[in-house]
Amino acid sequence: MKVSKEEIMHIASLADLTLKENEIEKYIINLQEILNFANIVNRAPIDDIDESVTGIEEKNVFRKDEIKEFDNKQGLLQNAKEVQNGMFKIPKVIN
């Protein structure tokens, strides 16, 4: 599989990253190289093998429906660059 410039631009856009021209070149090469290497999984003897979907065997890990208030609500906003009326301020969202 060959990675095209359009493809890497599309992927970067899905990940909300902007790549500079020189980065695009570099990442195409890196991605191509890593994918060639990763392709080895296509040769693995995995017919009739189920996927592992989580890292654990346990099922049904649930929590009780009981309210516990977080003890440092002030701290939740302390790292925001712009807060107004207790809310995070962002550029206007247009639908």
């Binding site: 990940a15 902007t18 890593i34 995995i46 654990i56 977080f70 206007k92």
Partner: protein, 472 residues
């Protein structure tokens, strides 16, 4: 002998006998930091001098574990000023045991890397040879323990990030079974692989620290509900009759000859101590590294989506609308390797490639688990090198991502299978750089690894024989 040279169990004895106070310990370490930190550069946030209660023990924390009111940066520009409003569960647990946060340690950005060169802030040096990397991603933790700047430390391990730097720095590093230690408050890299674990001067300290951090946490759905074990009880050198397998795939191509010899020497020592050692097969090993990078990057690409410059983290100055705020903050806030992995992860999850990469990797994962299960029907532990080489030079691999990934060859399959594994120093190479042996155990069977590790430690007396020389 200075206090900073002692292990924690030695310090605890002195504290119990009231020969020293906790303040003596921190003062000794602060003095050592003043002396060694300029050349090692292991800390992102150095500990502050403070009046402490008389019995507490300090600990260095990798800077991807959230500490309330103490900056937690993940060695990223993205979190350069981030102050968590909450503590990770491990920090709460440590605090209950009287173990207090003593500085935050350098790492590869968001734990992505094997040399700590991908830190946004500084390059940590290997205390054995300052021109070499300390390994990574928990390079700051391993280097700080090796340089006696902290008595012990916590690291995190997604594909080898505790064990490989422990190996490079000649200290003990344990990646516990997935689910043994709560991940709540560990900034996620790859959720199904990440584990927090101890980096210590010796195996006894490792068991003590594991006692403090292991255990069920209702805040982490992947945390295991199991009976509490006292790991220090495993510290006993009788390994007579223990069955040890050596997967031949990890002693073949790509493994440095001196490393190979050191591992074979370990095998001999074990035989001498009464263990049964034999070669075995782990044929799925060749698929592990690719599988690891597919799964880890896929999860990372999603986990790192939350860094958008809105609620916390770096926000670009340069935007006119929301999309630009997102894109520019992320592009300027993340470093090159992080972006590379986000791109790879996004790619393997994107439509058209999911089945070819991600789905296949999840199947290989099942196979890896099965092969290990099979081996553990026969063996109590498996023995491999921790890393294919000893510490490499700073700058040697940082521009070649794939080559850097190969440094994880021996460690990643353990994360894929969720097993516990420990790196323990087992000798030095001709450049006087430490070599690590990796002991892999059955799930939730840390005791056997600790037992085998302790026996080897007593046999080799590595700490007594070798010390980091801070070679320039």
């Amino acid at each position: 002998m200075e206090l900073y040279e002692l292990t924690v169990h030695e310090l605890q004895e002195k504290l119990q006998r009231k020969e020293i106070t906790s303040l003596d310990i921190t003062e000794s370490y602060l003095k050592r930091i003043e002396e060694k930190e300029p050349e090692v550069e292991a800390f992102i946030t150095k500990p502050e001098k403070r009046e402490d209660d008389s019995t507490s023990i300090p600990i260095g924390i990798k800077d991807n574990i959230c500490t309330r009111d103490i900056k937690t940066t993940c060695a990223s520009r993205m979190l350069e000023t981030f102050i968590p409003p909450y503590n990770a569960t491990v920090i709460e647990k440590l605090s209950k045991e009287g173990i207090k946060v003593f500085g935050k340690l350098n790492m590869d950005e968001f734990a992505m890397g094997g040399s700590t060169e991908y830190s946004y802030f500084k390059k940590t040096k290997n205390p054995w040879n300052l021109s070499k990397v300390p390994g990574g991603s928990s390079g700051g933790s391993a280097a700080a323990v090796a340089a006696d700047m902290v008595p012990w430390a916590l690291g995190s391990d997604t594909g080898g990030s505790i064990r490989q730097p422990a190996s490079f720095c000649g200290v003990v590093g344990l990646k516990p079974t997935y689910g043994l230690v709560s991940r709540y408050g560990l900034v996620a890299f790859a959720s199904s692989l990440d584990q927090i674990g101890p980096i210590t001067k010796d195996v006894t300290d490792c068991a003590i620290l594991l006692n403090a951090i292991a255990g069920y946490d209702e805040m982490d759905s992947t945390s295991a509900k199991r009976e509490k074990i006292d790991y220090t009880k495993a510290i006993d050198k009788n390994i007579n009759g223990m069955k040890i397998g050596i997967p031949k795939e990890y002693l073949g191509d790509g493994i440095n000859e001196e490393v190979k010899q050191a591992i074979l020497n370990v095998a001999k020592k074990y035989e001498k101590m009464g263990a049964k050692v034999e070669e075995c097969e782990l044929s799925i090993a060749e698929y592990s590294l690719a599988t690891y990078y597919i799964i880890a990057c896929a999860e990372a690409s999603s986990n790192l989506g939350r860094f958008d410059g809105i609620r916390y983290g770096y926000r670009s100055e340069n935007f006119t609308n929301l999309k630009e705020l997102y894109k520019n903050s992320r592009s300027e806030g993340f470093g090159e390797e992080v972006k590379r992995r986000i791109i790879l992860g996004t790619y393997v999850l994107s439509s058209g490639y999911y089945d070819a990469y991600y789905k296949k990797a999840q199947k290989v994962r099942t196979l890896v688990k099965k092969q290990f299960e099979k081996l553990f029907e026969k063996y109590d532990i498996l023995l491999t090198p921790t890393a294919p080489t000893t510490a490499f030079g700073i700058g040697e691999k940082s521009n070649n991502p794939l080559e850097m990934y190969l440094a994880d060859l021996c460690t990643v399959s353990i994360n894929i299978a969720g097993l516990p594994a420990m790196s323990i120093p087992c000798g030095i190479d001709s450049n006087e750089l430490p070599i690590g042996a990796q002991l892999i155990g059955k799930g939730f069977n840390e005791e056997t690894i600790l037992k085998a590790g302790y026996a080897l430690e007593q046999e080799l007396k590595f700490r007594q024989n070798y010390k980091p020389q801070f070679k320039k």
